[in-house]
């Protein structure tokens, strides 16, 4: 437990100290919210546009922090030999992974809180009426996308271009699943692709919980789909993730 807390503190220290990572993952959702919120006015499908964008960008925050941020960080640390070096210390791999996961969850939670505060201050969006459901959504979203992040980290061979590969997944996925705003006006085949992607189901939960005041637990299907993707991520990670540099 002491080691877990120590490593959690280390992960947070390294994350906030590395400006590029923090800017790319933390600032980006906030920046997009302000930009899109300034462009879209009026109502989107019955709710004020800023509310709808806020609900959407929480999901983008999850994808960029937990999936992109964690996988790039793990690949860079693996290729630099930091993970190998840590393997020789008393810190056990499961404790390291648990701390990395919890750290990414905390960062995503911070993005979510700042989105709500920013929305309230800039666009007058309401705070969520079901904070408990928002917390559960943050937990499920980070577990699922962090698992997928570790899985993709196992598939990426070198740190050069890991950021390009991961963003090539995150940006189209966010666009297709409505994490950058509603997709109902998209052509049918684009929406069909979006429906096959895991982020779609986090967007569904976010819309239900924040925009329509539903309980988290009322979203059984979406919870199930995200859990299944999370398990798939863990399985891929178990087969592909290693602690030693690939490209040495």
């Amino acid at each position: 437990m002491r080691l877990y807390l120590h490593e959690l503190r280390t992960q947070q220290l390294v994350y906030w100290r590395s400006r590029e990572a923090a800017v790319f993952t933390f600032i980006f959702p906030l920046l997009l919210f302000v930009l899109l919120g300034s462009v879209y006015t009026g109502r989107i499908y019955g709710v004020p546009a800023p509310d709808a964008l806020l609900a959407a960008l929480i999901s983008y925050g999850c994808a960029t922090v937990c999936f992109a941020g964690l996988s790039i960080a793990l690949v860079v640390r693996r290729e630099a030999g930091i993970l190998k070096r840590i393997r020789a210390t008393p810190l056990r791999p499961p404790v390291y992974m648990a701390a990395a996961l919890c750290s990414t969850m905390l960062t995503f939670a911070a993005v979510t809180v700042v989105l709500f505060v920013l929305g309230r201050v800039v666009f007058g969006t309401p705070f969520p009426s079901r904070p408990g459901s928002v917390i559960l959504m943050v937990v499920l979203g980070s577990l699922c996308f962090a698992a997928l992040g570790v899985g993709i980290a196992g598939l990426i061979r070198s740190s050069d271009g890991s950021s390009a590969v991961v963003n090539l997944i995150v940006l189209p996925m966010s666009f297709l699943t409505g994490a950058f705003g509603p997709t109902r006006h998209y052509p049918g085949f684009l929406r069909a692709i979006g429906d096959a992607l895991p982020l779609k189901y986090l967007v569904n939960i976010s819309d239900a919980v924040y925009l329509h005041q539903h309980s988290f637990w009322s979203q059984g299907t979406s919870i199930g789909v995200l859990a299944a993707w999370g398990v798939a991520g863990v399985i891929v990670a178990a087969y592909t993730f290693g602690w030693e540099p690939r490209s040495a």
Binding site: L3, E7, S18, G81, I82, A88, T89, P90
Partner: protein
């Protein structure tokens, strides 16, 4: 007490037999050098001892543990300097030491370790601003911060300029005075000669010679006698130098000649090493 015992160690990567039956013992408090050219199996051997790799055959005991199934305290008691490893570029020297200190139950004082490895004036510098030699000292610092009994140094001075190597050697000598057991791999002969109490020369996955640097050179019985005759260098290799020299000099005296540039030379560790490595090339 024996810190490390290795018997019949074998390891293959696919068809490549990296280690083909290695035996050695390292006593507590000893500085032991594994010397050999690139690809001799040094790093594979060390990484098995560190617990990174499984072995295909043989017995290994490191501080009483099998590194494949280490006891709880195994990683508390070892310190590792890898051949190539970076640390977090954006943390400072002190933060990096504190992170590693936090991984151990009974770490040494962080500032004391930073002083020991000579980074006191870089305490608050970011890792990315350090020179190559300073980064290597940081590696050594974080390997020592857990107060290990046994330190693995995999090619600790590769790529150093001569001054940085001297400084690193001083630090490694200071480990001996702290009572640490050190396993050092190197492909520099002078490094092994300068630092190690005993040396094992590895070639193609086996230990071909083991002993103190002095023993390695004295077990080689052939002595070289060189001189010049009519401007041509003559080289005599002999296991019986007294007789050979007597014959040579008495013949020369009889002819009334001088043996120009007469030289009798015991092979250096370098000669022994090169002859061992060259045998490998002929094999």
């Amino acid at each position: 007490m024996t810190a490390i015992a290795v018997r019949g160690l074998r390891k293959s990567y696919g068809p490549l037999e990296a280690v083909r039956g290695v035996d050695f013992d390292i006593e507590e408090g000893e500085v032991f050098g594994l010397l050999g050219p690139n690809g001799a199996g040094k790093t594979t051997t060390v990484e098995i001892l560190e617990g990174y790799r499984s072995r295909d055959a043989g017995e290994v005991s490191v501080l009483g543990s099998d590194p494949q199934k280490p006891r709880r305290d195994f990683r508390e008691r070892i310190g590792v300097v890898l051949q190539q490893a970076q640390l977090w570029q954006t943390l400072t020297v002190r933060e990096t030491h504190r992170v590693f200190a936090g991984y151990y139950e009974h770490p040494r004082d962080v500032d004391e370790v930073i002083d020991l490895v000579g980074l006191a004036d870089k305490r608050d510098a970011r890792v990315q601003t350090l020179s190559g030699g300073q980064k290597r000292r940081l590696d050594l610092g974080v390997a020592l911060v857990g107060d290990p009994d046994l330190v693995f140094l995999d090619e600790p001075t590769t790529g150093f300029d001569p001054a940085a190597r001297r400084a690193a050697w001083e630090m490694i000598r200071s480990l001996r005075s702290l009572g640490k057991t050190v396993l050092l791999t190197t492909h520099y002969l002078d490094e092994a000669e300068q630092l190690a109490d005993r040396v094992a020369v590895m070639r193609q996955g086996v230990v071909v010679r083991i002993g103190t640097p002095r023993e390695l050179t004295t077990t080689e019985t052939e002595v070289e006698i060189r001189y010049r005759r009519d401007g041509e260098e003559v080289l005599v290799r002999t296991g019986d130098p007294t007789r050979a020299l007597h014959e040579l000099t008495s013949e020369a005296l009889a002819r009334g000649e001088e043996l120009e540039r007469l030289e009798v030379r015991r092979p250096t560790l370098e000669d022994v090493y090169l002859s061992l490595v060259e045998e490998a090339d002929e094999a």
